[in-house]
Symmetry: none
Subunit: 383 residues, 2 copies
């Protein structure tokens, strides 16, 4: 089955609000195995909305609209669906009474324009909105389905989960995915390595560049969850073998979470000296749960004079009486544009005989964040 989303609202096209409804619906559709090829945002304009609806029903089985169901003249979704299907909206007395009751219970005056929210066309039935005044529309004609939902996310999510998703005419398929997370390797290198994978159409493999490294997502579509998972496993093994030590986690894992877990397993505490990363490494590490058992503290001296990195790591270790000392320092290699920093991570862990200094390079605007990730990466390697 193929779905399509139409977000309706001039406020989205003016940049006044960010449209989070599309991501929400995209995730729900993906989990159901429903293909989503297009998503369009259109303003509160009837002619343009009808144009988008016409194209959408021409190429997709189900069209989901959000927004434009309010009581004001700006709200044209109902009228546009009616025009698409060549029908005329009329007030439904039962719905009108429900609406009057809703206002009465809240002690609010109901204005005439609210009656618009009680209208229907012959091809549509109302979808209950337990969170607001605007019922949705489930309109169906000639095998095409248009489902109109309200724009406020709280109302829309509730309606989707309770009234729409359970009634969708689904294909048998389910979708499962697995994300393998890599660091210190470029997107293009990952792509090149992946070209050695055994070719296969299901599961699919996609590569994404993220702030915490490269993510490789394996997605399988199957008749049931077990079958989907067993399609993923051999591909995951192949990818892990190709990527080797660049793999640091899967799915929802974070680099800081993985490092804190390793520190806890080894019962090792850490003290930090941050110069170039200016507190970013500590702030990131502190985002992990149960960090206080392993992170004794950090000395942050953003403009510190260049010094021997291992001495600074040792200084942090001594200052906080920790097992491990880690220091980040940086020097500007070239002031000419584009300027480049040398970014050094030093780790000292005398009990394990470890003294490690690694240098990376970074552009100035990324040096604090990248430095924090490199420090996590180096820490993970010694653990």
């Amino acid at each position: 089955m193929r779905a399509e989303i139409l977000s309706v609202g001039s406020e989205i096209l003016l940049g006044d609000i960010v449209d989070t409804n599309t991501q929400y619906l995209a995730q729900r559709l993906s989990a159901l195995g429903i293909d989503l090829y297009f998503s369009t945002t259109v303003g509160d304009n009837r002619a343009r909305l009808v144009e988008c609806l016409r194209r959408a029903v021409g190429r997709s089985d189900v069209v989901l609209t959000t927004g434009g169901l309010g009581p004001t003249d700006d709200d044209v979704t109902r009228e546009s669906i009616a025009e698409l299907f060549g029908e005329t909206p009329r007030v439904d007395e039962q719905m009108a009474n429900l609406l009057r009751d809703f206002f009465k219970r809240r002690g609010i005056e109901m204005t005439d324009n609210n009656l618009k929210q009680a209208s229907l066309i012959p091809s549509a039935r109302a979808i209950r909105n337990s969170r607001g005044t605007a019922p949705g529309w489930w309109a169906e004609k000639n095998g095409r389905i248009v489902i109109a939902m309200p724009g406020p996310p709280g109302e829309m999510h509730y309606m989707w989960e309770n009234e729409v998703e359970p009634r969708l005419p689904l294909d048998a398929a389910v979708i499962r995915s697995r994300t393998i997370k890599l660091f210190a390797i470029s997107e293009s290198k990952v792509d090149e390595l992946l070209s050695e994978l055994t070719p296969c159409a299901n599961p699919t493999v996609a590569v994404y560049a993220k702030q915490d490294g490269i993510h490789v997502r394996i997605t399988a579509k199957s008749a049931d969850a077990e079958e989907a998972n067993s399609a993923i496993s051999p591909v995951e093994r192949e990818i892990r073998a190709l990527m080797g030590e660049h793999v640091w986690g899967v799915d929802d894992e974070t680099q800081e979470g993985v490092v804190v877990d390793l520190l806890r397993e080894r019962a090792a505490t850490i003290g930090v000296y941050e110069s170039i990363t200016a507190g970013q490494f500590t702030a990131m590490l502190a985002g992990a749960t149960e960090v206080s058992a392993v992170l004794k503290g950090s000395l942050v001296v953003p403009g510190a004079e260049p010094a021997e990195p291992l001495q600074l790591a040792a200084k942090a270790r001594e200052h906080f009486s920790s097992d491990i000392g880690l220091a980040t320092v940086g020097t500007l290699l070239s002031e000419a544009e584009p300027s480049i920093y040398e970014l050094i991570v030093a780790i000292s862990w005398p009990a394990q005989g470890i003294e490690r200094v690694t240098a990376y390079r970074s552009r100035p605007h990324r040096v604090r964040t990248l430095g924090a990730y490199y420090a996590l990466h180096e820490l993970r390697r010694i653990l």
Copy 2:
């Protein structure tokens, strides 16, 4: 002029990421007085992208694409624009050399598929990308403009602001705007206060809730810049009078930048003790330019035992021999959902006879960032 946005990326249609680029561009276009009637998201599929491009150039003067400029086979934006214009992409040797240089300076291997990022068609020129490897394309044929920009927001924003927006063929009207930035006041309170403004259609006033507080944007559209600016000034004065001490800056100013400037003016140095903010305050402050002259250093102890906040501020002052000491501490007030932290900012500045302790409240997931902003806010108030 009429623009249209095409966001390219299957990860958006799978719901893996939320598309923030569209809102960003919608805001920028709106500020320039450029109409945006449609915005479409399409996956990494050449046939579908060409279909969308064809429709977009048919109804809009400028088409802005984001995403799909990476080095992998998934990235099809360049190929799709070439198909739209009936041309063939070829590697441009000058661009290829720049790319080789980019990789060389970082000491990273450049793979063959990266060369794709150095390709052009006769109708396109490259747009410099100072933040990444993928140059944009400015393609123009038969009076229609297609501007392709990279998907990562940091790269896209920089390219838009420095390379694209200044070169757009704008209508005669100019748009000028002024953003007044507030802190420690709610969006609804701002909205209520603004209802007292003298009503007026030009300039317009809009309110945005951001991480660093509430932004009030005044936008004027006029025949020339001087006229636009003089329409803005009286409204700005009215708003400043209404908002009082909640105003901390305008336009591109950041809270950390304002605070560092004030510290420099007063020739005052600071030492920090961060418990609840876990390095976030220092990392934020370090984002300002010339910070090392005033920030002597920070002690970060995320899981510190509760202590007298003013003593910790004094400890930081002594440890780093600074004029001012600032400490952030926090205690969980209630573990029941929704759990709430008490967030304390203490400042000690003996030379000025200042000892100040202020308590705020925060939900756990925001406590580090909010704590850092409150610390900046308190610091600004004593300066």
